[in-house]
């Protein structure tokens, strides 16, 4: 591997690092992921997501289409292709990406997620078919995310374990924000300024 290297910088850096480490030996490490104790992950997720000023709604699958239509309102919406068809409101367009020239075309994007985390109120996208490519949830000013209760995990450690192998991920905790001006949290710099989370209970 190094014999065929034709990169002097690479060789030099590796040699310097090896020299720096001479005489010290690695200590094998055993690491147990930390658990997040929570009596009710769904309630905790809902509460924490709301504290970051996401608008959170909780209801059954059957009521979801009506709620979706309500939060979308009059604007033009793009819906990720992999979503259950019964969830797609009439008039919405199925799109997996939004091109820069279309940046102002869609008011909202509707997607699912890979999982959600109670510990931090976070939703995680792995950009599977029900979530679209990254531009879909970035350019419209309003992101509406559907979360099934069985997708909510207690802690960050469980989420990380479940996400192993997902090469592309976006972790979202509340709408875009900055505290750069006198540390006052201001919503909405570049990402979507509105985040709606619809938590879907299984049908009874």
């Amino acid at each position: 591997m190094e014999a065929e290297s034709v990169n002097p910088s690479r060789d030099a850096i590796l040699a310097r690092l090896r020299e720096a480490l001479e005489g010290s030996s690695p200590r094998p490490r055993q690491d147990e992921p930390g658990a997040w104790p929570t009596p009710d992950p769904v309630a905790e997720f809902a509460e924490k997501a709301a504290e970051y000023r996401a608008r959170v709604w909780r209801g059954c699958q059957a009521d979801a289409p009506a709620r979706l239509a309500e939060v979308i309102g009059a604007g033009r919406a793009a819906v990720a292709p992999g979503l259950d068809t019964h969830l797609i409101p009439p008039g919405a367009e199925v799109r997996s990406r939004i091109r820069p020239v279309e940046a102002e075309t869609y008011a909202a994007a509707v997607t699912g997620c890979r999982l959600a985390i109670a510990e931090t109120g976070t939703i995680v996208l792995d950009h599977g078919p029900d979530q679209g490519t990254r531009s879909l949830t970035l350019l419209p000013d309003h992101h509406i995310c559907l979360v099934r209760t069985d997708q909510i995990v207690a802690g960050v450690a469980e989420a990380v374990a479940a996400l192993k192998g997902a090469g592309l991920q976006t972790w979202i905790s509340g709408p875009s924000a900055t505290s750069d001006i006198e540390l006052i949290r201001v919503e909405g710099v570049h990402g979507p300024r509105r985040l709606d989370i619809l938590i879907l209970e299984p049908d009874a």
Binding site: R29, S135, S173, S176, S179
Partner: protein, 461 residues
Amino acid sequence: MSGGGITPSDRFEKAVKLTLADGQMRANLRHATTTIRRKRQRAQDEVPDWQELRDRAARMKDDAHARLPELLIQLEERVQDAGGRVHWARDAAEAREIVAAIAAGYGLNRVVKVKSMTTDEIELNDFLASRGIAAVETDLAELICQLAGDRPSHILVPAIHRNRREIQELFRRTLGADLPTDNPAELAEAARLHLRRTFLAAEMAVSGANFAVAETGTVAVVESEGNGRMCLTLPRVLATVMGVEKVFPLWSDVELMLRLLPRSSTAERMNPYTSFWTGVRPGDGPQEFHLILLDNGRSRVLADPSTRETLRCIRCSACLNVCPVYERAGGHAYGSVYPGPIGAILTPQLLGMEHGEANSLPGASSLCGACLEVCPVKIDIPRILVELRAKAGVKPAESAGLKAAAWAMASPRRFEAAIRWARRGRGLAPLLPGPLSGWLQGRDLPEMPARSFREEWRRSR
């Protein structure tokens, strides 16, 4: 000028005289650090296994550094397998050349940038400008610094030294924004409009990385505003500059970072956005990805086992916000993109302890120990400061001072007694090592806080 590199042009005790004179900056800084300190403590108290997390993270980073060559090779393989390219840069000059060559290869004269201390460290923006390539900063604070011609003064809130009235004035003047008030939401909106056009037209982005995972080749950027997502998603070319010390061995180690970093830095349970990517994903985001692995003195830091743990730093800035010296001196006094307690130990080690200006930095501390208490990766900054002071070569007269420091450090109570003593106007200098006594002469003693941070700390628990 933004992106000022790591080489101080003055010794700390000299530079600090200038920054102490800026009353507005000190007032802004005090407000900011006090606010973050209070919030950070709350964020930490919410996590039952916080102390275990710190221990685990320290062990993880030590493990990574002990196996750095092998992990970097593994990272390189994984990134290449996923369609990315990996470059190695011995120093700042090499890293700058690599980035410029990538941009020039596409004939580009403009790149968008996500805030990155590493690209500031290598003074990338000025270099690109000299090659006719404009580097547009896209973080609100970095934009403020870039428009104002300032250097960032804080790792996390680089414009912490500017208040809203100053920013309103600046945006009116430079962006031509119509801003009737200095309401932060309106200021942010003006920046949003200005930058959105830039993002949509961008062909290449330059970023730093918070970490990369050797096991999977996955790279991460942790951010708040969404400009990171814009830069990582819209352009067709992405170049990421990362210090070699930031590699993690295992994917599961991501837990540690995402639980410790947001609470330590912005005092949030989680930052608004974290992006992970692995090489190139066809049809989504940049179709060309370059990862530039930077040494620039890190192998030098690694070479001393007694101070190597400096490389654990995850740039959370918690140590800045609790540091009484930083609060008064401000970031600029450190003369480096790495200010505060971490800067006082990292900058001189990166440059080498023989560096005549940088080796004054370990003197910029009262050794109160607050930085170690908050550090999420448990870097023993006070101990390293003392070691570095010794290495900087103290004159015989000053070694008595070093002994006194060790004596004071051995007992926090003793040290507090020394501080209280000083506050009564007796002066701290006789009790403290040489470089610090020099620093104390550069400032007015009446500026001692009414209560020391360690005292505050104990009271608030």
